[in-house]
Symmetry: C2
Subunit: 314 residues, 2 copies
Amino acid sequence: MGSTPRIGIIGATGAVGRVTMELLRERGYDDVRYYASSRSAGTELDGGVVEEATPEALSAGDLDLCFFSVGTAASRELVPHAVRGGATCIDKSSAYRLEPGIPLVVPEVNGTRALEHDGILANPNCTTIPLTMALKPLHEEAGLARVRLATYQSVSGAGAQAMEKLRVTEPGAANLAMDWDFEGDEFEEESKLRAETRKILELPELPIAATCVRVPVMIGHAEAVWVETAEPIAPERARELYAAAPGIRLVDFPTPGEAAGTDDVLIGRIRSDPTTATGLQLFVVADNLRKGAALNAIQIAELVLERAPLSAQR
Amino acid sequence: MGSTPRIGIIGATGAVGRVTMELLRERGYDDVRYYASSRSAGTELDGGVVEEATPEALSAGDLDLCFFSVGTAASRELVPHAVRGGATCIDKSSAYRLEPGIPLVVPEVNGTRALEHDGILANPNCTTIPLTMALKPLHEEAGLARVRLATYQSVSGAGAQAMEKLRVTEPGAANLAMDWDFEGDEFEEESKLRAETRKILELPELPIAATCVRVPVMIGHAEAVWVETAEPIAPERARELYAAAPGIRLVDFPTPGEAAGTDDVLIGRIRSDPTTATGLQLFVVADNLRKGAALNAIQIAELVLERAPLSAQR
């Protein structure tokens, strides 16, 4: 495969697909093909015409690397065909994230797991990625005991149609929303966040309680986080740890507006939790389309491309 | 004073002042005069012309009851004049909230305190009111041990100018904001929430950690709350307690859009906190201009008017 991988973006016309396309171009990848459902096939994008994502097209052997930004059901159907065709697949749906043996990767947190793949690698949920980046340095320093968080998730996390709907909403009518399916007594979004964070940090019992909320902001997910650790960490020490952590930028008051269009996870409002001797409060924000999705997936692919030629791994 | 109190609204042209006016009219109070700063004096409102809120005007003896919805500095200056003129004053700023001897009242929570006033009663912060209403039944049942919350506060909490600014903001540019002053390592808004909640619940040591965030929603403040109690409470039991509590309405997924324009505090998403044996998670929403401000203040006044003639208390 060498240095110019043949790349496919499946779900190219969606919000994350378009950002994947932009980021690949910025990074100098020029052999990129676009795929989408039959409804969007034929759409002309900046770099070419969108093809229909059929099992035949994806298994034809034309692709070395595939980025899937489609729904879970479509990923389950199509990813195996692309793998059969010889492509390494980075899947951004929840189809494979919790499957044993499939790496679920945040490069800054558990990048070495990317080398254990068997053709499929999973990209975590857009809220999981910044959370694990915020938790990892604290865990290494003092051991995580318990995590609680409330999210402020932007509408782009719900896709291009939700973004269009917000564009035409009267400011006086904008509302918070809770537009996720239910699983037991919580949202699937909250269950995923817990299960994925446990898998990535390799802490299968870590207690996590999340309340997920959609806010009328276009891009950028924020999280108000309470972390309890086994040993106390002073806020100053947490700041030192984050200052030294890759992919994290310390700011006083992180907002989605500041994070949108950038690659970093912003962390700020680092304070002691006054209700416990071993707690910290944080506010964490990231561009959900970039670090929360497209960028993280590309970073996973680059780990795979860099550290071992794809051909040697299959 | 009898049954037709002479009422003054000071700060009548602001967001809360206007709602106070509407609610008083709905409730049949018809002897209402409007006051504001010199800048707004002369403005014609639905029920009359706005007079300038001078010390002379307020101490002239024309008023039995005053609702102050002005800044803290203006309240400190003007309230004593109105009291001198014989009016009972309900102040919505933070000027008097924490002053010993001045009742800080949420009628459903500590209404009897309203009878201990000496001319001034304080109305709590718009985030404090729904929080204390959510906490009180849990405290009576099982004893509060620890409270953490993240807020989703609407822009109307920042006043009429902030509302106008949101009205002309492009949806793509709407952002979260943290527009409060600092006190130590947290926002004043967070310190107030803690101190006021402790005073209202009469739990001076209650551990409370808050992260306050402004969201681009016009009306309605929401709070994601984690409550730890001394004894465990099942979510079903919490629902029973709330179903029986005055001023609270149980809904599955409370949003500001549902709360706006209504008087109730909406509580939903009641779940066990999976990170502890004695914890609950809640989502609490109220109209910050009504129950969070104007309505609560009117309810305080009605407690005073109803239970003891004003003349007997002074």
